[in-house]
């Protein structure tokens, strides 16, 4: 691959992605990726690290796999079998509704960076990944793919789509038909709806073995410049509200948004959904390492 194609304006380059993928491969060694108490992989024996069970030794088995304690205990030569770390299917659900374009382009930029980076890493780790861009409907969809082709399909889809200037809605539930049952899903959105998409998140979680919500947060979310009487309108629904903008109002809005995020976090905890907060002030690398790979840092 030529060097020019590896450099991108958004702060992603293939070398960096590859390094992060390697780091994550090491971090994931011995434990399932992003899973807490679930079993994302098939329960077939094969090459892997996680112990599955014992079976009788057969000619050709690797002597390193012989479990001598089990052999002494049972009187027959036993070898350890490991869980086959075969690939699982991941669906990246990215919100491309109009709200992702406000209050600045930073939210959409970070969301696409995270999506591309996650796709790269997951593919690098051998998983099949698909992208579903949703608003009030599925605006873009790729097939489950691996390798360079699968990644490039996602990249092209990201490049083709962007938040519209207005209208639409944010309905992650539209992605459910495209999520493989027993697969895994990551929903990337600002979750700025009245119910913070609780219902749809729960439905997605019910269909997958694991679901993660990445909330993209901008400190200026829902705030406006200037003071005085202002007519606010929802970029998606068009609903209007006349308010008096001042410092107190801005503080109240900020407080309400904090409550809203906390509510989403609690909802994720209740439904065993991973939760990551991605602030536009952070880089995608920080978010990946701190919020996703090191579970517990921001997890519910």
């Amino acid at each position: 691959m030529d060097a020019a194609a590896l450099t991108i304006a958004a702060g992603l380059d293939e070398g960096e992605l590859r390094r992060h993928a390697a780091i994550m491969a090491r971090l994931f060694a011995g434990r399932p990726l992003l899973v807490h108490g679930h079993h994302p992989h098939s329960r077939r024996a094969g090459d892997g690290i996680e112990f599955l069970d014992h079976r009788a030794y057969q000619p050709g088995d690797n002597l390193r796999d012989v479990d001598w304690l089990a052999t002494l205990r049972t009187g027959r030569t036993q070898v350890r079998r490991y869980r086959l770390e075969a690939s699982s299917d991941w669906t990246l659900c990215l919100d491309c509704s109009a709200s992702m374009g406000l209050p600045s382009a930073a939210k959409w930029r970070l969301a696409t960076q995270l999506t591309a980076a996650l796709a790269y890493i997951l593919i690098h780790l051998g998983h099949r990944v698909r992208l579903a861009l949703f608003a009030d409907s599925v605006r873009g969809l790729t097939a489950f793919g691996r390798g360079h082709g699968g990644y490039m399909a996602i990249v092209r889809e990201l490049d083709r789509n962007r938040p519209p200037d207005g209208g639409g809605d944010s309905v992650p539930g539209r992605c459910i038909p495209y999520i493989t049952g027993g697969g895994q899903a990551i929903v990337i959105s600002d979750f700025l709806t009245d119910d913070a998409m609780h219902t749809d998140l729960a439905r997605i979680a019910a269909r997958t073995v694991h679901t993660r919500a990445i909330q993209v947060v901008d400190g200026d979310d829902c705030l406006v410049t200037g003071t005085g009487e202002t007519t606010l309108f929802d970029i998606e629904s068009g609903a209007e509200l006349v308010v008096t903008v001042d410092a107190a109002a801005a503080a109240a809005v900020g407080s309400r948004l904090d409550q809203h995020r906390a509510g989403l976090q609690r909802h994720c905890e209740r439904h065993a959904i991973g939760y990551t907060r991605a602030d536009v002030a952070q880089t995608w690398q920080q978010i990946l390492l701190d919020g996703i790979v090191r579970p517990g840092t921001h997890d519910a």
């Binding site: 691959m1 008096t244 109002a249």
Partner: protein, 501 residues
């Protein structure tokens, strides 16, 4: 004092301001801002409906109204001039050649434009316009006028441009006199040199012009009912010109002749006709359309009364009999011995005391000057009446009395004399179009570039500082209306690289 070129724009300012206020009062209240979600704002203090209706919707209306008013003021083209600035006396050439059509309009308009620029460079904002050639139909302003008013005055002047008559007295009063002319009058060079002329603004580039310079008639000696006529055509352009001259009496053609003249050349054509009951005789140069820069000098007409008018001449007893015969032979005079008279012919130093154009006839007594009659005309310093001095060898002239051509020349000379005062009653008319060199514009004393700032310059600087804030206000409003950060809200998504495993 502040003046506006287009004051109508000032009226639009309050109308626009009122419109802006109305839109802000009754239109959508307050600013409109897009947000990702409205729910965080629910419960935030909302303005009471009653108070909202009473207050002005958005104070920005005042800012916008001011900006629009400033721009309307700019469109009104204000000009500032102070009375303390000097007033220039501008002698404007109102001759016919200044009415020549250039490629972009009459020559006098181009000259006026050049004058404006020159005056503005000097900081002169008011002028006292004076016509170079006097005319009974001219309306001269009583006092100084602005450069804007000058346009209207000149438009009135050039509705009937004057012929190039006597030049005005030399302006030697020490004021800054300006001359605007195409310099087709050769006498102007001396006038400029001798007078206290501050600057000369010359204009004119069109050079294709042929003109009828003279149309004259006189009764013939042998048949007083038969009028001997003469037309003179001059090519005052730079190229060969041709065409035909047609003479009509009350619309009926009596003479036609083709002519072709090189640059600077002139030609005279003689014809004879009878106008027994009186009428109008007209000579016309017929040329191809658009071939002539100054069509106004292609036509001359002459009203011939039923009974040919003769100037009543009181002849000095000291004059010779030969002069009396000559004057009668011209067909232009009737000798009388008492007032009322039209012409006073003196051959001695004794004055008749009658304020009339006076003809001083000086017999040169030179036998060699048989074919020469010189007429010099000058106004009387006391009465202002024209006085002519004729140097002639009358004896020799009388000897050739039968020679009609010579008499015609003498009659023409006398006619020129008489024209100075009673031109409307003389069988002679003419165009004066000047020399063949229609010179390109020049300035005798180019304006210095390092002079003090003129009012015009200051005005331009002043209004630049008015327009810039007005535009800045509107741009600021535009930016605010668009929501500032909203501009960057929807940016292209990042491009990511290919993948290689």
């Amino acid at each position: 004092m502040l003046e506006f070129v287009s004051p109508g724009w000032l009226l639009s300012a309050p109308l626009l301001a009122a419109t802006i206020w109305w839109i802000h009062r009754h239109g959508t209240r307050g600013r409109r801002r897009a947000v990702a979600a409205l729910f965080p704002w629910l419960g935030v203090d909302r303005p009471a409906a009653g108070t909202t209706r009473r207050r002005l919707a958005d104070p920005a209306w005042l800012r916008r109204a001011i900006a629009v008013a400033l721009l309307a003021g700019m469109l009104a083209a204000p000009q500032w001039h102070s009375d303390s600035e000097g007033t220039a006396v501008v002698w404007f050439d109102n001759g016919r050649s200044m009415a020549a059509m250039e490629t972009d309009g009459p020559r006098w308009r181009a000259a006026l434009h050049a004058l404006r620029q020159a005056l503005q460079r000097r900081g002169v904002t008011t002028v006292l316009p004076r016509p170079l050639y006097s005319s009974s139909v001219l309306a001269e302003p009583a006092g100084p006028v602005t450069l804007i008013q000058l346009d209207h005055i000149l438009a009135a002047w050039f509705e009937a441009p004057a012929i190039q008559g006597p030049l005005p007295p030399l302006p030697l009063d020490g004021h800054g006199h300006w001359l605007v002319s195409d310099l087709t009058d050769p006498r102007l060079e001396g006038w400029i040199r001798d007078a206290d002329v501050h600057d000369v603004v010359a204009a004119g580039s069109a050079s294709e012009n042929a003109a009828l310079t003279s149309l004259s008639l006189r009764p013939t000696l042998h048949d007083p009912g038969l009028l001997a006529g003469s037309v003179v055509i001059a090519n005052t352009g730079r190229l060969q010109a041709d065409g035909s001259v047609v003479v009509r009496v009350d619309g009926a053609q009596v003479f036609q002749q083709h002519w072709s003249l090189t640059a600077g050349e002139s030609q005279s054509f003689a014809f004879a006709t009878r106008v027994p009951g009186g009428g109008t005789i007209e000579a016309v140069l017929e040329r191809a359309a658009g071939a002539d820069a100054l069509p106004i000098d292609n036509r001359l007409s002459l009203a011939v009364p039923a009974n040919a008018w003769r100037a009543r001449a009181l002849i000095d007893p000291a004059c010779s009999r030969a002069l009396s015969v000559l004057l009668e032979a011209t067909g232009l005079t009737t000798l009388v011995d008492r007032p009322p008279i039209d012409l006073d012919v003196r051959c001695s130093a004794v004055s008749s005391g009658i304020a009339r154009p006076t003809l001083h006839v000086l017999d040169s007594g030179d036998p060699a000057a048989t074919d020469r009659v010189d007429v010099q005309v000058a106004p009387d310093p006391v009465s202002g009446m024209p006085q002519a001095t004729v140097h002639a060898n009358l004896t020799a002239t009388m000897a050739a009395d039968a020679d009609a051509q010579r008499l015609l020349r003498i009659a023409s000379a006398l006619g020129e004399l008489l024209q100075t005062d009673v031109r409307d009653r003389i069988h002679r008319t003419e165009n004066r179009v000047g020399d063949s060199q229609l010179r390109a514009a020049f300035e005798a004393r180019p304006a210095t570039e390092t002079g003090p700032a003129s009012d015009a310059t200051r005005t331009a600087a002043l209004w630049r500082w008015v327009v810039i804030p007005a535009v800045a206000l509107l741009l600021y409003d535009l930016w605010r209306c668009h929501g500032g950060k909203r501009d960057a809200a929807v940016a292209p998504s990042p491009r990511v690289p290919g993948y290689r495993t």
